[in-house]
Amino acid sequence: MATVLAGNGAAAWGFRLSRVQCYPYYPITPSTACSEQISRWVHDGAMEAVTINAESEHSAASQIIAAGKSVRAGTATSSKGLLYMIEVLENAAGGGVPCGLFLGNRATGAPINIWADNSDAYAMRDSGVIQIFAADGQETLDSIIQGYRIAENLRVRLPFAVNLRGFTGTHAYEGVEIPRPEEVNRYLPPFVSLHPLFAPEKPVTYGAMLSAYPYRRHKRNQMAALSNACEITLKAGQEFAEKFGRSYGHFEWIGDKKADLVVALLGESASAGEVATRHLQGKKGIPGVALLKIRLFSPFPAKEIAQALHRAGTKALVVLDEGLHHGGVLPPLAQRLTTAIQLYLGGKGPKVASVIGGLGGSEVRQEHFQLMFNLADNIAEGNPYRPEPYWLDIEEDPIFVERENQVSPKLWRKWGEVWKKQQRKEKFCSPIPPDTNEIRIYSRAGQGAITSAVGFTGAGIQNGYQLLTVPAFGSERRGAIITTDTLLNFHNERRIRSFMRAWDVVILYDDTILYSPEHQVLDGLKEGGALLVNTSHLSVKKIREILNVGQKKVRVLTVPAEAVSERLGLKHINMAMLGALHKVYDKVPFEPAQGYYEKNVPRPREKSLEAIRLGFSETSDREIQRTRKESRLTVSQEFRDWRPEDHSQESWPSALEEVQLG
């Protein structure tokens, strides 16, 4: 039964199930959560391992390499942390230490950027480490287990690294199957060191100083072992499929078997590509299209990929790189694919165009893939194309050009002719109809919106749907307005992990967000969608006024979540909002979800469940009555109406007369 895990959590389970015995760590966004989870398990005694609170990634890497000579070791890092480690990682590959790394891919270099791209993975290509790219939490968990199986194989004995895109991968919560430990133990035998340090009967020396002759022969052996890893990765993937039902290989071919147009890329961005590919498949006037999601990046399965492209009869291949070529001819993935095609298919292979996108957390959306397939189609027709990389989302340097002045003049001088031949075809760029439900939560950091969204995801999964929750992260601290998006896919025959940004429900965790200039909460809200606001004093009419909803067919509902939480003595309003969400969005039924919540809501459990029920019942779209403040005086109305007596003359007989004297 799937458990809701973020990418980091899945990686932590990967290490735990592989029974890692030494886990030094150093925190770095976005992979920190993996180390936090393992520390929690070790400190609770749920995982038997020794953790070291290293003072830098450089030391953490030194420690896994030293410990890796005696026990199974692993750690997690990202971006600059990995760059610190590269100085030492050579010793792992050179010393035959099969330790494991989990990398939450994140941009490196200046300027600092905490969001995702592959520049850290590309930087470690020459450290001799096996590199596997996972596309989601499940693949990460499975790849770590397979990683140790591959690395410790006697024909390899090299370190491995599993890469997962930062935030959209590491912080995306989704259903992950956690295999049972005894099954994993059968798949992955315990660690045996070939040259243990703690064996007096065979004292050994690691890292001796070798002069030229022994050095080059050692390097020859090392490269031989690395190339073995290619075949062994395939074998490990197939064995994993037999035991656990999920098959893995060097790459994944999505779309038509016979595909003239192919887009190739690494990792998690492929989820948007799948949707675009399925949308274009079989459309009139569109040749065979396919998405080549490459999993094993180093050692690069050049022959296998070349043969696959040849079997598919591909005419044009567009390669998306989420990293830069830094003076090379093409970015790394494009360069490797071009070389593979040139070496194994000679002149008969497809033409290759290179596209750079997704840098520093830039989104790789579905329309980008439509553009790339369109480019591939033009190339397949023999139109000229740029030998140097194209760029996504750069206004001055687009892939297709309508008007000349739209492009920066110096580029027009260089590629004007090519652009003229490349025209944008509507049949590729028709909008993709949404076939998933999406919910967006606007909240303030620290209000616990993510906890409630993850709870909802769990309930949805228990109900048999496929859900994905991706919180938007930045350097904002407590109080800033953040968004958390949840996607529900009802067709369980295919996984969808890409957002259409068309919301069925928008939730505001407090009414002050209505006034925030940068957050147009109604953007993207579908016709007939619902807007849920947590407020105890704004009426529905007032909210419609503030947002000048006018006649748009949008349901507006309010829930006094603060009051509910206060009544129960809960610090956060997220449980009440969870109940409110069930009231507004009924596809995930409320009653069965209770079963899930009983076991998975934060403590104090009883109050949280009560808050969910109250949130559900107190959500309404009617006006809220203002409670009259009852008066505290204990004295009769008659007392209050008393007034001093009027003694004017009318009320008593008098003979007095007005008279004018003198």
Binding site: R155, K202, R217, A225
Partner: protein, 212 residues
Amino acid sequence: MKEKQQILVSLNRHKEFVVTGPFVEMRERQGSSGPEKREPTESDKGKFLHPPEILTIEEVAQKPIDGLDTPKVLNAMADIGPEARLFVYRPEGKVTRHEIFEDPRVCLEIQRGAVIENLREKPKDVSGWRTHDFFIDIKGCLGDECGRCAIVCPENAIHLMGKGKGSFHEIDPLACKGCFICWVECVRTAADCILVDGKTFDPGMRAKHFGE
């Protein structure tokens, strides 16, 4: 006024540490029988790891391993070819894991991960480094009562021969680099029985070291 005396909290079973002001003095603790004399013990009998063995087809053939179906193993290894290896892991003598695989290495004399097995190494001959010859006069040497030269030799070239009265030290000609340090130590503090180029007396060297 006598300083207030205080005993330092200590695990030591034989000595008491008395603190007076900033100073600490060690006193015999009553009722302690003094540290029991113990010889430098052999390496402790603690539990250690046992490295796995990686055997070639010949080795398997010569010494069949109990708990393994040797012929079946040999056939499997034969299929792979000359570079087939048998991985056997038997920490307590009983085979717990074994696997047949083809040795990925191209240059077979280099161990995996360029690891060096210390005990298989032979010391390098550095005799070419020295410009003088050193020889210890067997009769003059005090043997195992002294050992000054052995402890200060940078090259571990000086070894104790024999035991007890008749023991003496001998310089390994392959290891000595001729640095004179053993000679200085012997002349200064011990028996002055190290001969340089066969001579015991070298006016220049003595003048340099002792100002005679």
